[in-house]
């Protein structure tokens, strides 16, 4: 099977190379001789089919690796190092992406999968898709070259084959790790598609903004995967690393956040291009940078340039990624310089108080956040180069900069939707902002009356600001729904709930977007709770107890257990809340036989108010008593709920508008009266 896998990768490489070569020749011939015979188009068609074929080949390769893992084929070096006989089946499947070679194969396969869909849907715009397919083939070549020369997943073990494998890294033996990496990779890889379309559109000087329309769903789906991937990673860190937090500003966490920030900026600023033909060069560079940041993320993960919890993936393939980054930047720069006149804006920003300005601010703030994180992440490398010693930047640096930026972004989330395109008069601002502002101020007053003291420390101040802005944004968005629904209600005579549903179905992109903003607000509420985290640590033997917040924990027993995969130590704790029995928790520490590594299994009782988070830290060697650390983390559950709301909002935005879905013919004339806005309100309006 290993030979089959290697052959399939090699075949994939050949097919991608053919796609790139034949595609380029065909596109060049069509560009130079537009009225020639059908030969170049036939050549382009074979290139497209080769791209589709590369997906088939790489699917076979991925299947072969999973098969080797399931059948304990330890003659394959990758399986020997990332699996063992006692490993549960889901983790054997996850072995596909648990190491360097496998995860690169997953990347190449997902890229081919995206390319497969793109090439199947080529009729949406044959020429533009041919450009995008050819560019995508270039990216595919890079990853398949890596698989053939730098990190072959089917390399065989030299000498005698061991009877059992060395096992999977214990950090990865957690259910979320079966879905977190594929989600993240789907996000990373997915940005290749809008990148390929943007670069292709610029190369062919594509007239108009239809390429944005074509890639909109791709970008949103990709963004959704990346969002899910990031938050699943945060949840995994929270549940497995046992330090009581979910985000440690680890370089690899940062690497996933950076393209998310630029991708979010892109999703917003393309609306300006679609609606008003503005920010064309900006948008093209945003997606170029987003793509390059996804590669940088992989570079940081793989090269070991910076130390990280993901150090298990370190290797020496960094130079390959540097080379690819330089080539990508050169191609982008060359194409941009050659065609920059094509990106001339059709309109200018007319007023500082307008939807366009709010989008621009949003973009600048997101990019400032991205640059800050990039600077902090690369600072150890820069400091080593300049001073000769590695200076690592810790969470205080990021928190000092990123928290105010986040709060300003939250503010923009609220004001953007209520500003008008072009310009907003003072009268309009006053009219639309009174209620949200009042809600924000009222929330601040109530919280301070309830005992919040923002002047005591900066964390509390930020929390108060986040809660108040959350109220402001929620009110602003709710009033958007209410106003729109009232129009529908007046027109149809139905109830308000029906009208809200109708309104949303008429413009899913806009109202789905609002739902995403509500999700962001909920996430911020959860983040704001971190200012009030508390923890306690002590030895807890039989019947020892510890009180924290409203909880009292009493040790019932502590013991050991063993199975084929690991030995474990755990403690049984009865938890009482306000004197009443609540539940039993069992924090655990495992020792994995194959990898000879230990791992923490946190016990977490999560409610909307707070998480009771209990960690078994090990035994005190002097007393042989377990050490238990307990955290009270307020509002953490809101983060995960917020992410689900963001996902639902994105899914809603992906649904076609009601009139579009029902095949309503587009209007042949402009609406001449205000009333005409009602039945046809299914436009792209944002």
């Amino acid at each position: 099977m290993a030979a089959f896998g290697s052959f399939a990768i090699l075949l994939g490489l050949v097919l991608c190379a053919y796609n790139l070569l034949a595609g380029t020749v065909a596109l060049r011939q069509i560009a130079v001789h537009p009225d020639s015979t059908a030969m170049p188009e036939r050549l382009a068609e074979t290139a497209r089919r080769a791209g589709i074929g590369s997906f088939v080949a790489l699917t076979c390769a991925a299947f072969a690796l999973v098969y080797c893992s399931f059948t304990n084929n330890f003659s394959v070096s990758y399986i020997l190092h990332h699996s063992n006989r006692a490993l549960p089946l889901p983790y054997k499947f996850a072995a596909l992406w648990s190491g360097q070679e496998g995860s690169l194969l997953l990347w190449a396969w997902l890229l081919a999968g995206y390319g497969f869909v793109l090439r199947l849907r080529h009729k949406v715009d044959v020429k533009l898709t041919a450009y995008a397919s050819t560019i995508l083939a270039g990216i595919q070549i890079f990853f398949t070259l890596l698989l053939v020369f730098a990190a072959p997943p089917f390399a065989l073990v030299q000498g005698a084959v061991p009877a059992d494998g060395f096992g999977l890294n214990p950090l990865l033996q957690y259910p979320e790790m079966v879905i977190h990496p594929p989600m993240l990779y789907l996000g990373y890889v997915g940005f290749s598609v809008p990148f390929a379309f943007a670069l292709g559109a610029l190369m062919m000087r594509y007239p108009g903004e239809k390429w944005i329309h074509i890639t909109r769903r791709w970008t949103m789906v990709t963004w959704l995967f990346l969002t899910f991937g990031i938050f699943l990673g945060a949840h995994w860190a929270y549940s497995v690393l046992g330090w009581g937090g979910y985000w440690g500003w680890d370089p690899v966490e940062n690497a996933s956040l950076m393209p998310w920030l630029t991708g979010t900026a892109f999703l917003h600023s393309v609306m300006m291009q679609e609606k008003r033909g503005m920010m064309k060069a900006w948008n093209v560079w945003l997606i170029f940078v987003t793509f390059m940041l996804t590669i940088l993320g992989t570079l940081l993960t793989r090269s070991g340039l910076v130390s990280s919890v993901h150090a298990f993936a370190e290797s020496s393939i960094g130079s390959w990624f540097w080379t690819f980054e330089v080539i990508t930047l050169s191609v982008c720069l060359f194409t941009y310089l050659r065609n920059r006149d094509h990106l001339r804006t059709e309109h200018q920003i007319e007023s500082l108080v307008s939807r366009e300005s709010s989008f621009l601010f949003n973009n600048l703030v997101l990019l400032a956040a991205c640059f800050t994180i990039l600077w902090g992440t690369l600072f150890p490398i820069i400091s080593e180069y300049v001073q000769g010693n590695k200076v690592t930047v810790g969470p205080p640096f990021y928190n000092r900069v990123a928290v105010p930026i986040g709060i300003f972004l939250l503010f923009l989330t609220g004001i953007g939707p209520v500003l008008a395109w072009r310009s907003t008069s003072f009268k309009s601002v006053r009219k639309n902002f009174i209620l949200p502002t009042a809600a924000g101020v009222l929330t601040a007053v109530v919280l301070m009356a309830a005992g919040m003291r923002p002047w005591t420390d900066v964390g509390t101040l930020y929390s108060l600001m986040a809660f108040s802005l959350a109220a402001l944004v929620t009110t602003a968005i709710a009033s958007e729904f209410w106003r729109g629904a009232r129009v529908i209600q007046r027109h149809t005579g139905k109830n308000l709930l029906f009208s809200v549903v109708q309104l949303t179905r008429r413009n899913t992109r806009r109202y789905g977007g609002y739902l995403v903003h509500i999700g962001v607000v909920i996430v911020f509420i959860g983040l704001a709770g971190s200012a009030f985290n508390r923890s306690k640590e002590r030895e807890m033997g039989f019947h020892d107890s510890m009180s924290i917040g409203p909880y009292r924990l009493v040790c019932q027993s502590y013991t050991q257990d063993s199975n084929a995969n690991y030995d474990s130590e755990y403690e049984l704790l009865n938890v009482y809340q306000n004197g009443k029995f609540l539940l039993r928790m069992s924090p655990e520490r495992r020792f994995y036989h194959a990898s000879q590594q230990t791992e923490t299994m946190v016990a977490d009782h999560s409610t909307l108010q707070r998480d009771l988070y209990v960690v078994y830290e090990g035994k005190n060697p002097d007393t042989d008593q377990p050490i238990i650390k307990v955290f009270i983390n307020p509002l953490v559950a809101w983060i995960w709920i917020g992410v689900i709301v963001m996902a639902l909002g994105t899914l809603l935005a992906l649904v076609p508008n009601m009139s579009a879905a029902q095949g309503t013919a587009p209007s042949r004339r402009p609406p001449v009266r205000a009333e005409e806005g009602i039945p046809q309100a299914a436009g792209v309006g944002d």
């Binding site: 089959f4 052959f7 088939v56 007239p207 108009g208 903004e209 106003r483 209007s667 309006g685």
Partner: protein, 92 residues
């Protein structure tokens, strides 16, 4: 067995890629007229959106009038150019 699987994969993909096509999809260059039609649709949608938001009470009368005039002006220019180009197409 492995050799046979490799051969099947190779031959299958080779046939799929190079199987003669009856008619390849034509790669046409988008015309100015198509671009203007797209643009017209966008401006109309902007107008509908503006109308809806005005009806929702989001904008005062004077803001609405000014923005509407600007959008209608833009639409008129696009429609005039479309009419001119369509006239050329029909004449040809």
């Amino acid at each position: 067995m492995i050799f046979a699987a490799c051969a099947v994969l190779l031959i299958g993909i080779f046939i799929y890629v190079f199987y003669p096509q009856r008619k390849a999809e034509e790669q046409t260059q988008k015309t100015r007229l198509e671009f203007l039609r797209e643009r017209k649709d966008v401006v109309y949608e902007n107008l509908r959106d503006l109308n809806f938001e005005y009806r929702a009470g989001k904008y005062p009368e004077e803001d609405y009038a000014a923005q509407r005039a600007a959008l209608e002006n833009e639409a008129a220019q696009i429609v005039a150019e479309i009419d001119f180009l369509e006239g050329d197409v029909h004449a040809a």
